[in-house]
Amino acid sequence: MNEKYLYPLMAVIALFLVAYVGVEAVGLQWLFGIIIPFMALITFVVGFVMRVNDWARSPVPFAIPTTCGQQESLPWIKPNKIDNPFTTGGVIIRMALEILLFRSLFRNTTCKLNEGPTISYVWEKWLWLFSLAFHYSFLTVLVRHLRFFLEPVPSSLQILDKLDGFLQIGLPGVMISGVVLLAAAMFLLLRRIVISQVRYFSLAADFFPLFLIIAIAVSGIMMRYFTKVDIVGVKELTMGMVTFHPHIPDGIGAIFYVHVFFVSVLLAYFPFSKLMHLGGVFLSPTRNVRCNTRAHRHINPWNPKVKVHTYAEYEDDFREKMIGAGLPVEKEL
């Protein structure tokens, strides 16, 4: 075992024990069901806003988009309006494709060194595919949880539930998003452990959120399919939270508090971690500016005054030689 994944794994197990023992043995339902989630949510919102604010405080002195397609140039040359966007509309499409479809990741290749020597590059779609599956199932799960916080449950959410549960296996019906989330997170985890290159630069901070999300998914799935949590009680608790009349109903199993505690930790951890890529991807200056830097001047708010060597000084240095070579000068000898 490697400390990079041992520590995070132990941390998640410890979190489980804290919540489980706290609820089962000490009876801290209030703490784990209401106080910690509230504080975590506040930490998340405040931390997130502060982080983004902090980024936004630093200016973008130069427009340095990575141009990934033909520039806008002569009228008869077809520009690539998305990968080298000249207009704001193009930038919006570029960003939308990045954020919704992970377009850059889609380009991924793996490189192999063969006999010869020759090098070959093969399209590598798995990271893209599983990342996409991971993020969309995460999103679906998140949105579906809104049904705990809204009364009556909006019809759009009910439709989503239907779609998600279209396989109609068992009772309660299997939700695809949860299964996909778990599978994709497992893939991302195994990839980090198995591929030696990825393992090499992975940090404990890369394993921790994965273990935590897997733990969240597993505890959720446990509640839904195995321990069969008291849904009515849960809804009572969550509605109490959103209406600011917190209250702990009886009879909700400890596993629920464990699940909520994991989520709280994820929320509180979020603003201080790499998970902030959620906010950062929108602000990334190599993607979100127009590639029209020769047609429109980008302003640097701190454009420094610098010392320069002027033509006059240059001519002073070389005047005689310049005249000798027949070059025109501003001042004769």
Binding site: T67, I77, C111, V198, L203, A295, Y311
Partner: protein, 553 residues
């Protein structure tokens, strides 16, 4: 290096990383992989901090007492001034999409050359000094102390990145390791830790107007010498003008092309083209001895130094009263012009929005910088049939095109050079898709790493490029590698010589002027290089008419 054969070099490359983590693997600075330290005189010329004699191989780098403070302060300052830096420090998820995209990683197998690890070298210190998680959790959060060994590691690996930006094409968040390297180099420069191959060209450029330190009279001599050569092969005498007030256009190109083969043939190409345009259309293009450098090694030093060198372009255009500026074939010069120049030294409101007076084409895309790329200019001339061309004069060549990193990923100039080549050559073949256009591979020597002492680094880093050339050589018999970058013209010949012998290197304007029918020329039997040009009459007519045609011609 020369004593290591290609298969021996490759045999040492291994993509499986070592068992020990990178933080626990000490960096050993190895001969052949680094460039010599900046000479104090060059550092002092620009008044940059801590000029001194020092040697990377010595234990003592003669750092100032408070070097740590300087670095941390420098980081803080840059985090506040560059959103890129801050965001790129915070949001990498270490997905590894960039890891095997770097030619230096592919060529050396050194895991610290994976872009993500290169960035982590700096990020680990950022976490330690600027984040709560790093301060509390230390190593578990990926943080580490700034030590002398870390500083040396930075120096070694930030001068093993050619700032080519290939990694940033693949990163889901657009994290640009080139930008991180630029920040790293700015920090190192705060301690006088530049390499000489950058510092001395910068000092030369500052004082004499070009990287090579060519003085005005010598610059004129060299171009006169080229005029003699041109007269020998074409029978036409060209008359370049220098520092001419009231010319239509100021021309700026890297001095490397005035200095070394095969760039010199490209320089001759420019001279012939300008002569042609003068004779046929009365266009008046002038060269400048003060602004005799298009390249800008300041870009590899710090944004301030870049600005101090770049400022000459507009200053000279203003002094001479030209309408706009035409820029030659160069890579990083065009990164500086496209993404920095106008911001730093603009607005150039004393120049006109560029219009090609011969075709009437408005260069809308350059209406603020007022600077046009010569390949855009020539493509426009060809499109409007303003050049009389005989592409069969290049029939001895089977050409492929190397997209230089900066015009590719810092500009997006892909189709213009291909259009020009296809109109002046009959045999053009593309390298495989993953090795061209925005995915192009660096020559392995960009960003000031084109010295001779780091030849092993250059040949390793150039392997992916060479390998793709080899592919088209074997498949199509390609014998000429065209490019639009002066560093390429200087460094690709040894690279080809090592990995793909028998492939030569050329600039596009050499090809253009080989094909150009110059008014009053003698019957051409040799090209600018003095090589025989194929005689059309001797060619089998069947072959002549079945030559491949290209869309866009």
């Amino acid at each position: 290096m020369a004593d290591l054969k290609p298969d021996e070099l490759i045999a040492r490359t291994n993509f499986t990383p070592p068992k020990t983590g990178w933080m626990d693997t000490p960096t050993v600075i190895r001969e052949g992989m680094f460039c010599y330290a900046a000479k104090p005189k060059s550092v002092a010329t620009l008044g940059l901090p801590y000029p001194r004699e020092w040697n990377p191989l010595n234990d003592d780098w003669k750092l100032p007492e408070n070097w740590k403070e300087i670095i941390i302060e420098g980081m803080k300052d840059r985090l506040e001034r560059f959103r890129t830096f801050k965001i790129f420090m915070d949001i990498c998820v270490r997905c590894g999409a960039c890891a095997d995209k770097c030619h230096f990683f592919i060529g050396t197998g050194d895991p610290k050359n994976m872009p993500v690890v290169r960035a982590e070298l700096l990020r680990s210190i950022y976490r330690n000094e600027f984040t709560k998680a790093g301060k509390i959790l230390g190593r578990i959060a990926g943080a580490r102390e700034l030590t002398l060994d870390v500083l040396k590691e930075w120096w070694y690996y930030f001068f093993q990145c050619s700032e080519c930006r290939r990694c940033s094409v693949f990163c889901p968040y657009g994290i640009d390791t080139a930008e991180i390297t630029m920040m790293g180099r700015e920090l190192l420069n705060l301690l006088g830790l530049n390499i000489d191959w950058i510092a001395t060209p910068v000092a030369n450029c500052y004082m004499t107007g070009n990287h090579m330190g060519i003085q005005p009279q010598a610059f004129v001599d060299m171009l006169d010498f080229f005029a003699d050569e041109i007269e020998d092969t074409t029978g036409v005498r060209v008359h370049p003008t220098y520092n001419k007030k009231g010319a239509d256009i100021l021309f700026t190109t890297p001095s490397g092309d005035v200095f070394g083969d095969p760039g010199t043939y490209t320089a001759m190409g420019y001279m012939i083209l300008f002569h042609y345009l003068k004779e046929r259309y009365g266009l008046d293009v002038t060269w400048s001895t003060f602004n005799s450098e298009g390249g800008n090694f300041g870009l590899f030093t710090s944004n301030e130094v870049m600005k101090r060198l770049n400022i000459k372009m507009y200053a000279e255009a203003k002094r001479l009263g030209v309408k706009w500026i035409l820029g030659g074939e160069c890579g990083h010069m065009w990164r500086a012009i496209t993404q920095y120049m106008d911001t730093m030294n603009g607005p150039a409101d004393f120049l006109e929005e560029p219009v090609n007076p011969i075709t009437g084409t408005k260069f809308e895309n350059a209406k603020s910088t007022k600077m046009v790329h010569i390949v855009e200019f020539t493509a426009d001339l060809i499109k409007h049939n303003k050049l009389e061309l005989d592409p069969s004069r290049n029939d001895n060549l089977k050409v492929t095109f190397h997209d230089s990193c900066n015009p590719a990923r810092g500009m997006g100039m892909f189709d213009e050079p291909r259009y020009v080549i296809k109109n002046v050559c009959n045999n053009f073949y593309e390298m495989p898709r993953n090795c061209i256009r925005e995915q192009t591979f660096c020559c392995g020597s960009g960003s000031g790493l084109n010295a001779s002492e780091d030849m092993e680094l250059r040949l390793s880093g150039g392997l992916p490029r060479a390998n793709a050339v080899k592919y088209v050589q074997e498949k199509h018999g390609v014998n000429m590698l065209a490019c639009i970058c002066a560093i390429d013209r200087a460094v690709l010949p040894p690279l080809m010589g090592y990995w793909v012998p028998e492939v030569d290197v050329t600039g596009i304007h050499e090809l253009v002027t080989n094909a150009l029918i110059i008014p009053g020329e003698q019957e051409k039997t040799v090209n600018l290089r003095g090589e025989d040009i194929p005689n059309k009459d001797e060619m089998d007519p069947d072959e002549y008419y079945t030559r491949p045609d290209f869309s866009g011609r």
